[in-house]
Symmetry: C2
Subunit: 392 residues, 2 copies
């Protein structure tokens, strides 16, 4: 006899990216596959001071159970820092989560019954698809242009899907496309959410990593009725290994997330929460972020510049103003998964685009990450990839 | 208009314990309510060395994303340490989770469709009920005696509930009852699981905290077919604030948990995993556990001794050979929640027993924790509680 699992397990597949990460761990591979921050920028020496400080001043609490909602001084810091994207949320309406990935998982749990609809960008972050998938929803994809989700298409989707439970969007330097939603559309998406009474889950891991131009207000900024749940994280600005993210939402909605967190894992790591707060208090995190921006901007420039030189002219790609990714479109009929096989022979890796589309299709895309490879490897890797593409 | 949540949210209630924790945070309250380890035993000085060591030797990896399954050296340590409860599981079949609470949540996700049945002890850990509840199962409770779950009752429940998906049990110093399952029943429960093809979720947070007598083999020890998923944790032997627990199961079953972990939060804290491993490598964790045992044993003795002196004779309680809790039974018709109100007036807190029974009833019980209060407060608190009980 064999063990009977829940039906949802038929829908939960491994993340192509995380499986790939294993393959690409071989040091000779030039990998543009992951979404990893540059580890050479991690503030390791500062972290030593931070750890000693936390253990010296608050060691018992750092090692003990603590409230589900999270460490209050950290929630206050987040509340304060969110003002830079013009969002006013009191610390009380912020829940600390294990990265923003856990915020995605909880969004599924809070909102989705089987067969409900999630409206999302096309393409969208595949980790979000994985998280939502375990609640077995339908996905309705909304086309994007260079200003993000098309609002007339979104309204059509909202009209056609009365069982929609939320709109999922990554407005800044979207994963995987690198696209940023325009100011007008940020206003408009909230109007539509209110009109159709469908919450927005605004996922913003990259907003602080803008290379040029002015930071746009978050979608949450335009929210006057509590219809937007904002997911944030320190993974890209401090350290993903500490798994510190957050949900900021209305008191009613954040309370639902808190109840889910209680059952899911009681609370986040008491020590990491204090370390994150201490890092912000003891050091200048904005200066640290500037350093990250400088390095990533250079890598973006180098990657895009090399692509312009080395890629065939019928291969298109986006120009991201921040974040970690550019998105490549091959001529129709070419499957990026086949290209990956050829690229791996040249010791170069990326993520084929198919899995960023919940309803399949669009296999002629792939995602490139530029944050995690040193400059010489970016030039070398993209040049090799250009050769592969020209050979097709 | 109001926001539409998933139907499961109607079934997710706050944990009475965690709400109570807030009330009882006032320093003048003598609280036997939580399930907290004694914070004065946390190895804070050792942790400082551990943090520096991890950051010095492996800082980049400690702050970076890492594999979903967990840090391999830590999984090897766990595999090795599980031999003390006579379990042989290779490191590859161990997934690191955010405390064993996350293992409980994942058990729900892996196994439970709405309306499925969970068979559990009566009473049982209410955090597990909270975790499972979000998958909207039915609970069938199996009566216990001083040797744990009654096996004839369990077989009746298995026969009567063909939609049972797993048996949930805490075999050592059960939360809340303090009861330990006998050796014969550990063998028998596996036979029954195999006969009815229903997996066992063996939750063992307290097994290493035995005050007297010989450690019994885990239920998993008797598992030859891969029908037992074992949940463990460092929360009671090292530090709950670090949120490091694990699931050890067959390759097939652990793979399901890994897939769920990917969507839920990608991975556990990279740094805490390394800290836990470094603590075990640099210091003598068994000596540290002996110290904990010594302190808790004394507190148990003092609590039970004072109860024997101060509680009325018609109030019964269990004698735990380890772990954190004793379980009190009041005469029928007395509601422990009413007693709590009187006790709080005397500045003493505990957890009323009703919420440990998924199908209600049994309000004449309550749980007392002895691990977290110093000795003078145990005597003082139990004496005050005795007065309240005598006044009824």
């Amino acid at each position: 006899m064999s063990i009977k699992y829940a039906k949802r397990m038929e829908h939960i597949k491994g993340s192509a990216i995380r499986e790939l990460l294993k393959l690409t761990e071989q040091p000779e591979i030039i990998s543009f596959a992951g979404g990893l921050p540059a580890p050479e920028l991690f503030p390791i020496e500062e972290m030593k001071q931070v750890c000693l400080k936390v253990l010296d001043t608050d060691g018992r609490a750092a090692l003990q159970y603590s409230p589900t909602e999270g460490y209050l001084p950290l929630r206050k810091i987040i509340s304060e820092r969110m003002k830079s994207s013009k969002v006013e949320v009191p610390a009380e309406d912020i829940l600390i989560t294990s990265g923003s990935q856990q915020g995605l998982e909880f969004s599924g749990k809070v909102f989705l019954d089987e067969g409900d609809t999630v409206i999302c960008e096309s393409p969208t972050y595949l980790g979000a698809l994985n998280a939502f998938m375990s609640y077995v929803p339908n996905f309705v994809e909304v086309e994007m242009d260079q200003d993000g989700m098309k609002m007339d298409e979104l309204e059509k989707a909202l009209k056609a899907n009365p069982n929609a439970k939320f709109i999922y969007t990554i407005p800044d330097f979207q994963n995987p496309s690198g696209i940023t939603m325009s100011l007008e559309r940020r206003k408009r998406i909230v109007e539509l959410a209110v009109k159709y009474n469908i919450p927005i889950v605004e996922d913003n891991p990259y907003g602080e990593l803008r290379f040029e131009g002015e930071r746009l207000p978050a979608i949450k900024h335009f929210d006057t009725t509590g219809i937007v749940a904002f997911l944030g994280t320190f993974s890209k600005t401090f350290a993903p290994g500490l798994r510190v993210g957050w949900v900021a939402a209305s008191p009613e909605v954040v309370r639902k997330y808190v109840l889910v967190k209680q059952g899911a894992d009681l609370q986040c790591n008491s020590m990491s929460q204090r370390e994150t707060a201490a890092f912000v208090q003891m050091f200048d995190i904005d200066k640290h972020i500037s350093k990250i921006i400088e390095v990533y901007r250079r890598r973006r420039d180098l990657m895009i510049g090399t692509m312009e030189k080395e890629f065939p002219k019928n291969v298109k790609f986006t120009y991201p103003n921040g974040g970690l990714f550019t998105w490549v479109e091959l001529p129709e009929g070419i499957d990026a998964a086949d290209v990956l096989k050829l690229a791996l022979e040249e010791k170069v890796a990326f993520v084929p685009g198919g899995s960023f589309y919940p309803n399949d299709g669009n296999e002629n895309h792939f995602r490139l990450n530029y944050s995690c490879m040193p400059e010489d490897k970016i030039v070398e890797g993209i040049t090799r990839l250009g050769k592969v593409l020209k050979s097709l």
